[in-house]
Structures are given as C-alpha cells and as structure tokens.
Symmetry: C2
Subunit: 344 residues, 2 copies
Amino acid sequence: MLTNRQLQILQVIVDDFVFSAQPVGSRQISKKEWITYSPATIRNEMADLEELGFLEKTHTSSGRVPSEKGYRFYVDHLLQPKTMSIQEIGLIQSLFQNQIVEMEQVIRESANILSDLTSYTTILLGPNVGKHRVKRFQIVPLTEQTAVAIIVTDNGHVENRTITLPKGFAPSDIEKTVNILNERLVGAPLIELQKRLELETFEVLRQHINTADSIIQSLKNVVTVQNEGKIYFGGKTNMLNQPEFHDLNKVRALMELMDKESQVISLFHPGDTGIHIRIGSENNHLAMEDLSVITATYSVGKEQEGSIAIIGPTRMDYQRVVSLLDIIRSGLSRVLSNKLNDGL
Amino acid sequence: MLTNRQLQILQVIVDDFVFSAQPVGSRQISKKEWITYSPATIRNEMADLEELGFLEKTHTSSGRVPSEKGYRFYVDHLLQPKTMSIQEIGLIQSLFQNQIVEMEQVIRESANILSDLTSYTTILLGPNVGKHRVKRFQIVPLTEQTAVAIIVTDNGHVENRTITLPKGFAPSDIEKTVNILNERLVGAPLIELQKRLELETFEVLRQHINTADSIIQSLKNVVTVQNEGKIYFGGKTNMLNQPEFHDLNKVRALMELMDKESQVISLFHPGDTGIHIRIGSENNHLAMEDLSVITATYSVGKEQEGSIAIIGPTRMDYQRVVSLLDIIRSGLSRVLSNKLNDGL
DNA sequence: GTTAGCACTCTCTTGTTCAGAGTGCTAATG
DNA sequence: CATTAGCACTCTGAACAAGAGAGTGCTAAC
C-alpha cells in the first residue's frame, strides 16, 4: 500500500506531466506550495515509486514520467471529477437545447463538440441498428429483373439494397411478397430478422409464389444488415497536435486504424456500461500503445444503445474527459430518447 | 521554343526526379547511355532551362528540380502513355470481370485498386445523384407526428429523411400526398425536384389537403438532396509514405482537407471531361501546394457522371497514373452502364 | 526521518571541421 | 563556334567536441 505522501507525489507527477508533456523532476514538485518536503525527500519517494512500477525514467538522469501502471492507479484511485467552466457548460447546453431536427445531426454535433473541447479525437457509434424494429417493408421494382428492397425501422432508419428478381416475377408477386413480409415481420428487431425470415416466412412464400426460392436468396442478403451502428468521427486530425505524435509512424498507424471500421469497432467492448478507461496496451492494439481510450454508452429509449469513445495520448486529461463524457452521454441519452418518443 | 537537347534534358530530369525524389545533377544525367553530351554542356543547358523557369535549385550548388512550370510543360508536351505490366492489367481485369453485385462495391474496389497500384490517394465521386430520376415516392408513418419520406431513383439509389407531420394529418392524407407526388413527379431528375415540386404539386396539394402548407415545408427539406455523388477514398494514408510528407504540417493540412467534403469536391471541376491534370498551385488550395491532382470522369448509362481523382505529390508519375486512370475510367463506365441496363 | 551537499549522468544546443556533390566560369579544343 | 576539361567556389549533412542545464543517487549531517 502506498503512503499518503507517495499518493500525493504520484498525483502531482501525473497532473504535471499531463499538462506539460515533460518529465517531472523533484525540484519542480517541491515548488508546489502544498508540498512541504524537500527535493531530496521527493527523490527518495520517487525512487520507491519507480521500484513499485508506477513511474519511469526516460533516461538515467531525467525526471519521472508515469508508467502505464501509474496511470492505471491514478485513474482507479486518484481521479476526482473536475468541474467545467461556465463557457463549456453553456456550449454543451446549447447543443442539446437547440431545436435540431435530425437525430443524426445531434450525434454528429456531439462528436464535434467533444473533440473541440478536449482536443482529442472522438468516435461516436450511432444507436445499435440491430435493435431497431421493423416498421415497414417495401419493394420498388426498377426494371424487369431488379428492384430495391427497403426496410424502415421504428425510429426512422432506412436500410435498402438492390436485389435481382427471378424471371417472370410479376408485379402481383411483389405485392404478395411485401404483404407477407409486413404481416409477419413488422415489430421484429433487425438483428433477429435473418432467423425469423427463415422460420416464419419462407414456408409461406413458397406456398404463394412460384419462384420463391430465388427471391428468398435475395431477401436473405437484404436482411444481413450491419449489427453495429454507423460510425461518426470528431477531430480526426486533432491528434496531430499532440507532441507524442511527432513520430510519423504513429500517425500512420492511427490513421490506418481509424480507416478500418472493424478495428474502430474493436475499441469498444460490447459488455461495457457506464464509463470505461483503457490505457495504452490495455487496448490490445499496436497502434494504441501510447494512446488511451475512454468509452461511455448512451441509450435511446429503452434499449437502443450507442457508444462514445475519446482517444487521446496516455498522457491525457482523464479527469476532464471523464466529466465531459458524462455530461454528453446523459445529454445525448435524454435528447435522443425524447426525439424517439415525441416523434422526431 | 526549346531545342531538342533541352527537351531531352528536361525529360530526363523530370523522370529521374520522379523516381528518386533527389535533385538531379549534370553528372548523373550525362551517365545515361542515350545522353552523348558532357556534364559541362548539360550544365549550360540547365542554366538556360532555369532561366526560362522550367527548373529550380534547392540551394546554390544543388542539382536541379523541375518547377511547376517544368511539370506543366512535361505534362503538356513530353508525356507518353506507359504500358502496364501483365500483372497490373490482370489485376484490373479481375476487378471488372468479377461478378460483383452492387454498384457501390465496384466503385469502392476501384478506388482501392487505384491507390494500391499508384501508392497515391484516390478519391472517387459516385455517379451524380442529381441526374437520377425519381422512380417512386413513399411516406412511412412512424408516430402520430413523424414519418419517413423516401425517394427511390431509377437506378436504385434511395434518399430518405424523417419529417414532421402536421397535427391531424390522417393516414388518408398521407396516401393522397404520396399519390399526388408519384403522379406528377415520377421521372423527374432529383436536381429539378425542388423546382417542380413548387410549380407542379403544391397547388394540387393545397386543393386536396387541409394542412398542406405544413407538409409542403417538410417535403421541401426532403428534396434538397446533395447534388454531388457520394465520396469514396482509397489509400488515404498512402501519402504518408511519400518523402515530401515528412513534414507534419503538410500531413495535417491534407488530412483536414480530406475530412471536409466541400473541399474535396472543390478539387473536381464540373466542366471537365476526359483526363485533367492540375499541378501544385493550379489547385488553388494551400494544402495542395506540393500536390498534383489528376481527374477523370466516367459515365453510367447516358448521362450520370462520376469522377475519379488521384492525388499525389507534384513529383508524381504522371505517365503511369494517366494510363491507369484511363483504363479504370473506361472499365468503370462499361461495367456500371451494363449494370444499369441489364439490371444490376 | 529529513535534508543539504556534491559528484555524476544524460540531453540538448552550439560551433567546428570535413567530405561530397554540384555549380559557374574560363580557357582550351576539334 | 559549339563543346568540353579543369578548377575554384558554394552549400549540405554528418561527425565530433564542448559546455550549459536539469536531474539523480548517495552520503553525511541535522
């Protein structure tokens, strides 16, 4: 267990380093007015903290820098919520009070504000489409052999795909198909669609339509919608202003990660609720070695969940980001849920 | 007018510099087996070419580098088509022969292949949505006060937007509205929709529906679809491998440009047909100072046009890129037009 | 237990030197 | 008279040295 003095010193080092990005020396610490020990004492404590794995040196005679373990400890035991400035609160309020019409717009704006306020990068996962429920099927014929299949969900999301029609598929067949689909599947969550399509409608379709097998194939394709919500970014280039990103290789690694949807998704963890912090290698990704991710979830209505992540250097202002994320997360939940209920 | 020898030297310098990214000296030029002059002669010619503005020096005693004017001349007068290797042609063929189902997929793949083959960045503008024609309107009610308005176009594109319904807007009103819209506007290009909506349908709507004014407002919103097609990127991070991008500020400027849709669009020029090359400052954008853009257009069916752009350093392999772009552009036109006609 | 003092270490900046690459000019050459 | 050999000159970039600055670890004194 760490002594009070060690806690205090660790805290100062993290706070200082987060602010300045420079290794922190004993003299610098002793200058803080609320530190009453001499540099020599601090040096001794720092040597101990280093032995325990909370601190690191960049070279033999440099000041100390928090290690991953140091950040972890800080985050777990020393984090205190930070109050935001009036301006900042005002900015966020205006985001949610504004009469913005589209859900998507609110989400997009949130991502931007978050990255503006933190100068880190924000990734916002839209509400999980898989939990939306089917409101209406629609098939619009384009040519003899092609049509667009459309699924509208209960909160206004639209999925669509072009499909091939079997030869000799008459307009009346389309109508029949659509009716069958709507009868059986309205109200089903998208994620279950594939299964329920097979169980509940294929048999019926075969009874009513000659070329059912062929159209069934096409429909299967349509309903394999992505499970995850859409990805929105804010401040993609903010990270380039961080001093740790003077290394082009890191820049490239991060940019490549952000370009690959699957890798971005893997930064989120399905089980997470509330706010989670993953530091450096805890993210299990080479490109994230020196980066931390703070994630939070928000909800729309009762179940549709989305996630927010902020990516910053491990040397990030955890207190500030956590507070900020909490405000946005609850605001977003409130506003989006309202939109869902009141309609739009 | 330049002498033959000057042309030859300019060509060698551009080719060499494109390959090596190093200033080209007189000795190096004289080593080429087809160059019969001595370094001293070449030095004299280079001094002349510099005076004429085709070459530049990086410092008083460095080799020469092509100036923007030099590239321009090279591109206008010295460019010869380059034949592709068997492998490359094979790769491209496979792209177009593959039975890929969705248009979007083909476009996405094209962007990727182009950037893989060039190691530059590709921007692909999907077919201009504005020229699509309305196939069908649809309004799906979600709640008492909200609905999703959907426009399906003749080649399977789907536009949708959530709208607010006036109080007391009955299901029968929706039906009426949809019917009126479909009667009057099917076949209209999206780009004319706004105008024709006002001219041809508002009056009729007012006659049949009480709360017409309110719904008209919502509809207006729906039909202001983006004129430009969707933007696809390939090899966004390729540029980081180019030696000219060791400067972080340039990286940031370019990344920021690519994140802003309007700026990306501004790299394309509406009137362009065929292949166009814009070198460095010809792009009228600070972030593009050291970059060239080669654009080409492709067509789908008779009129829907899309564009391809390749962004590389001014020191890019113009011959190769032009050849490549020409192959892709015609392949894309062919395949997409076929999809449109045969139906998917 | 705490701290002053001091030798030691490492980085970073600045200045110097030197090889290498390339130029421009002049004078010689076919 | 166009071409070229020769040479002095310039600039870059790498290598090295020296010194300031910041910080440490250890010892001995308080």
